[in-house]
């Protein structure tokens, strides 16, 4: 894999990482009442920067763009090396937009405002960092650094069992990432021993040419780290716990951005680094993907808690990404990437919806809800769109990715694709079941509830504003995916270059 680099004329990526950090510092030292505007403005600036990158990115050939590299720890051969290809770029952009939504949503936060926004700003920097780093040490630093703010977000601003959830989230993902670290360090050592190169750069490690046995070992080590983050079945149990307890904005980021890191890892590292092992493990990955899709869909419908249901649905959707990734063909890869983006929007919107319901009704239990559609029509509409996008309705973003991923999977394994396609049924099942129970069926409500809920307010401006970009993006991707496909196509081809040639 040979890669071209286009150096950045202006260190836009570094600036994107630094701005939230600086803003965090500013928030720390200023008055509490400035925290919200500063954070929102920061996130918007980052969003503008990433959008600028998105539109100036040249997708005609594969090259790492906005590339910066500075020597950092020469002793270990570590450099600060950032840049984007289309995969990174879309992820960064997804991060930026999710954070805008999260920040705008968070205007109703009342508890420990300063800390809250500081945690989120640091989280934003770390999330962007994960996607743009091409040096494994930096990648790992961001990968882990993100745990701290997320841990606090869940633990401090969460609900009743937040401590259990936060600890589980932290330790479980930490567990995975340490195995990831073992793998990367192992490769680093191998590179040093075999080639005499002391480097943690992605581009050096990608051309390692490991023997098959080692490929298997390293693949498994990395896969464990990524699988927990994704999360793939059976490493998924931290996710429902974390989602249920996390505050709304935390859930949004968790679902929209953090889960993507695992799948990003598979796409970015597992495939190009371990082509033989990846091929070898395709059946396993397919099996896990299908189990994730079907099994967690069943888990989802068994839930009585809105957020847990959505959390399981995330696991289910991630199954498609796994399938698409390991289909090892262009359709699958494009599908995986599009699903990642799309899931970012849909799950974020669904969690916002859950948070909104809680804001109004003060319950996440499905049995306490019902008939909300009449009291809050605007919300009902947006929720419906999000639910439908999540269920993979054509014309919305979810379908594009699922279709491509299924197509790619079908080429690799018919039975897997057919089973995975069942998600069309079961996925719609739990999504609509949730909608059905929460929004419809007013006639089953007791009268006092109806009287009380008559006075419920529909969405306010902040809530609407945080919802809208997500919903708009569902349409944009759903109606005109061609633009996105073209954007990522060269990147997909480059990632798959060891499988499909060229």
């Amino acid at each position: 894999m040979t890669v071209e680099f286009v150096n950045a004329t202006f260190p836009i990526i570094t600036v994107s990482i630094l701005i939230p950090l600086i803003a965090a510092g500013v928030v720390f030292f200023t008055d509490e009442k400035h925290a919200k505007p500063i954070s929102i403005i920061t996130s918007i600036i980052v969003f503008i920067l990433s959008t600028f990158m998105l539109f100036t990115y040249d997708y005609s050939t594969y090259a790492i763009q906005f590339y910066e590299k500075y020597s950092w720890i020469p002793f270990l051969g570590v450099s600060y090396e950032v840049g984007v290809d289309a995969l990174s770029l879309t992820m960064v952009w997804l991060t930026a937009i999710s954070f805008v939504a999260a920040f705008v949503w968070s205007t109703n936060i009342q508890k420990r405002i300063k800390e809250y926004f500081i945690a989120f700003l640091i989280l934003e920097a770390a999330c962007i960092g994960v996607f743009v780093s091409w040096d494994m040490v930096w990648f790992y630093i961001f990968w882990e650094a993100m745990l701290i703010p997320m841990f606090l977000i869940i633990g401090v601003w969460g609900y009743a069992e937040r401590i259990y959830a936060a600890t589980k989230f932290f330790i479980y993902t930490f567990f995975g990432s340490l195995f990831l670290l073992i793998g990367v360090v192992g490769m680093y050592i191998y590179q040093f021993v075999e080639k005499g190169i002391l480097s943690t750069s992605y581009f050096d490690l990608v051309n390692l040419g490991l023997p098959f046995r080692l490929e298997i070992i390293f693949f498994l080590l990395l896969a464990l780290g990524f699988a927990i983050k994704v999360p793939m079945w059976p490493f998924h149990t931290w996710l429902p716990a974390a989602h249920v307890q996390a505050p709304t904005a935390g859930s949004v980021i968790l679902a929209a951005v953090l889960l993507k890191m695992g799948t990003y890892g598979f796409v970015r590292f597992s495939l190009p680094w371990f082509p033989e092992a990846s091929k070898y493990f395709v059946p396993v990955m397919f099996a896990l993907g299908v189990i994730a899709i079907i099994y967690t869909a069943m888990m989802a419908i068994a839930q009585t808690h809105i957020k847990r249901l959505i959390a399981y649905s995330s696991v289910s959707h991630m199954g498609f990404v796994t399938l698409g990734t390991f289909a090892l063909n262009m359709e699958g890869m494009n599908g995986a990437i599009i699903t990642m983006i799309s899931h970012g929007f849909t799950s974020a919107a669904l969690f916002l919806a859950a948070g909104f319901i809680y804001e109004r009704v003060h319950s996440y239990e499905i049995k306490d809800l019902g008939g909300l559609a009449r009291f809050m029509p605007v919300f009902a509409t947006l929720f419906m769109i999000s639910a439908m996008a999540s269920a993979g309705l054509p014309g919305l973003s979810g379908f594009v990715g699922e279709f491509l991923a299924l197509l790619g999977t079908f080429k690799a394994s018919v039975i897997t694709a057919v089973l995975a396609g069942l998600s069309l049924v079961v996925g719609a099942g739990y999504t609509l079941w949730l909608y059905h129970k929460a929004m419809f069926k007013e006639s089953e409500l007791p009268n006092e509830k109806i009287e009380k809920w008559e006075k419920l307010k529909d969405m306010n401006t902040a809530e609407l504003l945080s919802f809208l970009p997500l919903v708009i993006m569902m349409f944009v991707i759903g109606i005109y995916p061609a633009w996105w496909i073209r954007l990522i196509e060269t990147t997909s081809a480059a990632i798959l270059s060891k499988f499909i040639g060229g």
């Binding site: 630093i141 882990e144 401090v156 936060a166 670290l181 073992i182």
Partner: protein, 488 residues
């Protein structure tokens, strides 16, 4: 007569220029000793100590390298660097000690000069090219510390801890000296270089291995490595907290440095023996320290167990006899200063506050009562846990790379798994600080020294976490120096 004359003839006068820092420390200690006889001006005593330490710290970079005392004392970059950090550690302990001692109404001047004597012992340890100097150095340091640990007035626990420390430490001393005796019998010398040339990989016999083993056990005891760690939690818990900080950081660092020095300079060719030994000890320390720390409610004791675990992490590097591993060990030792000091100084500062008992419940809602302090503690905890962007990560990473680089996968996996276990108790503190409601609203007050020390540690942890090259380069250079000394 002629033999003696021949032996004595070439000696001449020792070169005192290379021991200026030690002399400054010694003089400071004596000055305080003298002053205390006449005045109880506590402020003066602190200021003189701080001044002496500062002076020593400033002098160290300008101290010439060389050997003195007829080859019994070796001053090189390795020892100077460690001396600098030891002095720095003592400096931070000293600047936070005064408010603590006053609040606890315990002895005063004794703490200062005993601490300086102990520091002097440690400086000798890291400067030793020779088992004799090492031995007297470690004993000076140890005996001073037995006293420091037991000096908490009116406090029985302090005495108990100190007595356990003394008995165990005495046993350790006996083991070390027995080991030295065997080595001496095997090689006919105390000098590292002679020992190194006498014991080669080809002629490892029971004598050499036995001597090395017993010496190693003694050193492991001083470094509180499992199963020779038993004094650690008790002594740490019993001692006054600034002294705990000193014991847990300065003594540890000096011990690690000297262990490294002895292993590398005195037994370079016996590495198959000691790598295995340290690997086993390290694994045991990590496992025991982390598991037991999980169940501690007293945070001070928890940190004591955590320091046992950290001994494991650091010593694990010795399982791999490569220059990279030595660098990693030095790096981890140096950065451990910041985390260890941070944690214990934090406790020391808190212990002065009303109603503080170091119980985990006291941490409830700390983030609300004192957000900045809680933030610092958070940084220390995550650094000990090894989460980037704190420097603890790079400490573990270095050891980790070293282990994998030498194909010691099993120990690497133990390290990883134990790091995960350790998340349980480090996070617990963070959880109590951030995720529980405070039980009281009372504000805390901190002295300038405490605030400065805590802020310094936290800042440095983060700075090093972002730019570890600063210390990697130092560590790498020290390793080079160490390796040059072999057989010299």
């Amino acid at each position: 007569m002629s033999v003696l004359q021949e032996l004595v003839a070439g000696l001449g006068a020792p070169d005192f220029s290379v021991v200026v820092p030690e002399i400054i420390i010694l003089l400071t200690a004596f000055t305080i000793f003298a002053i205390e006889l006449f005045t109880k001006a506590r402020f003066l005593i602190s200021v003189i100590t701080v001044f002496g330490l500062l002076l020593a710290g400033i002098v160290i970079p300008f101290t010439p390298e060389g050997e003195t005392f007829y080859g019994l004392y070796q001053v090189d970059t390795f020892s100077l660097t460690f001396k600098f950090f030891l002095v720095m550690t003592s400096f931070f302990v000293v600047i936070i000690m005064r408010p603590y001692l006053e609040a606890k109404n315990t002895y005063y001047g004794e703490y200062y000069y005993l601490l300086l004597f102990s520091l002097l012992g440690m400086m000798m340890m890291v400067s030793s090219p020779n088992l004799i100097t090492f031995y007297v150095g470690i004993e000076l340091a140890s005996i001073s510390m037995y006293i420091l640990a037991g000096m908490y007035r009116k406090d029985y626990l302090s005495k108990e801890g100190a007595f356990k420390y003394l008995i165990m430490g005495g046993t350790g001393t006996a083991l070390i000296s027995y080991g030295i005796a065997l080595i001496y019998g095997r090689t006919g010398s105390f000098d590292f270089s002679t020992i190194a040339t006498s014991i080669t990989s080809g002629n490892l016999d029971v004598g050499a291995v036995g001597g090395l083993a017993i010496l190693l056990i003694g050193l492991a005891l001083k470094a509180s490595s499992v199963p020779f760690h038993f004094w650690t939690p008790d002594a740490y818990q019993g001692a006054t907290t600034p002294i705990t900080a000193f014991m847990a950081v300065a003594a540890k660092i000096a011990t690690f440095a000297v262990i490294l020095k002895i292993m590398v300079e005195a037994f370079p060719f016996a590495y198959p023996v000691w790598t295995l030994g340290w690997a086993l000890l390290a694994a045991a320390s990590m496992i025991f320290g982390n598991f037991v720390a999980l169940r501690q409610d007293n945070v001070k004791r928890m940190l004591a167990y955590s320091s046992i675990a950290h001994s494991g992490y650091i010593l694990a590097a010795l399982a791999s006899p490569t220059d990279f591993a030595f660098t990693a060990l030095i790096f981890y030792s140096l950065v451990y200063i910041f985390m260890g000091l941070g944690g214990f100084i934090f406790l020391s500062a808190m212990e002065r506050q009303y109603g503080w008992s170091n119980h985990i419940n006291d941490f409830k809602g700390l983030a609300k009562r004192s957000p900045v302090m809680a933030l610092f503690m958070l940084v220390y905890m995550f650094s000990m846990l090894g989460i980037p962007p704190t420097v603890g990560f790079f400490g573990k990473l270095g050891v980790f790379i070293a282990l994998i680089g030498s194909n010691i996968w099993w120990l690497a996996v133990v390290l990883v798994v134990m790091s995960i276990i350790s998340a349980g108790y480090y996070l617990r503190i963070v959880i109590y600080m951030y995720m529980h409601e405070p039980t009281s609203k009372a504000r805390f007050n901190f002295s300038l020294g405490e605030a400065f020390a805590l802020a310094f540690m936290a800042t440095f942890i983060l700075i090093l976490g972002i730019y570890p090259t600063l210390f990697w380069d130092i560590s790498g250079y020290l390793t080079a120096v160490l390796l040059q000394n072999i057989g010299k």
